[in-house]
Symmetry: C2
Amino acid sequence: MKVRVLIRPKPGILDPQGKAIERALPALGFEGIEEVRVGRLVELEADGADLEALCERLLANTLIEDFEIVRFADRTDPA
Amino acid sequence: MKVRVLIRPKPGILDPQGKAIERALPALGFEGIEEVRVGRLVELEADGADLEALCERLLANTLIEDFEIVRFADRTDPA
């Protein structure tokens, strides 16, 4: 089963990468973009593993990050 | 409009973060997980900006990364 994990900084947690992107936008001519938040994307093939435990123990820092697990039915690429 | 950008290492490009996760799994007791790939997740509010250009020029390194843009109809959190 293909699994996608979305990991984001928790609301209220400072996101320096997002702020850096926001500051770079005007010089590149982009307007109308705000609230940029940068997180991590982890995609994997899982067969029966405890994905919540995987996220809490290895993939995410739950003090400062939230995670969301999206499961896909088969191995075809959902993208 | 809320926008989610998924940025992944291109197929065939070495992904050291993914390999590091795979190597850490057995010691933590996780089995049945493979093909781990780590990318970036960027979420933002966009109003009329050219998102393809934004990804190509700022968010992704298109030499080694693919990107996917997902648009959501309104400001409610799709997660």
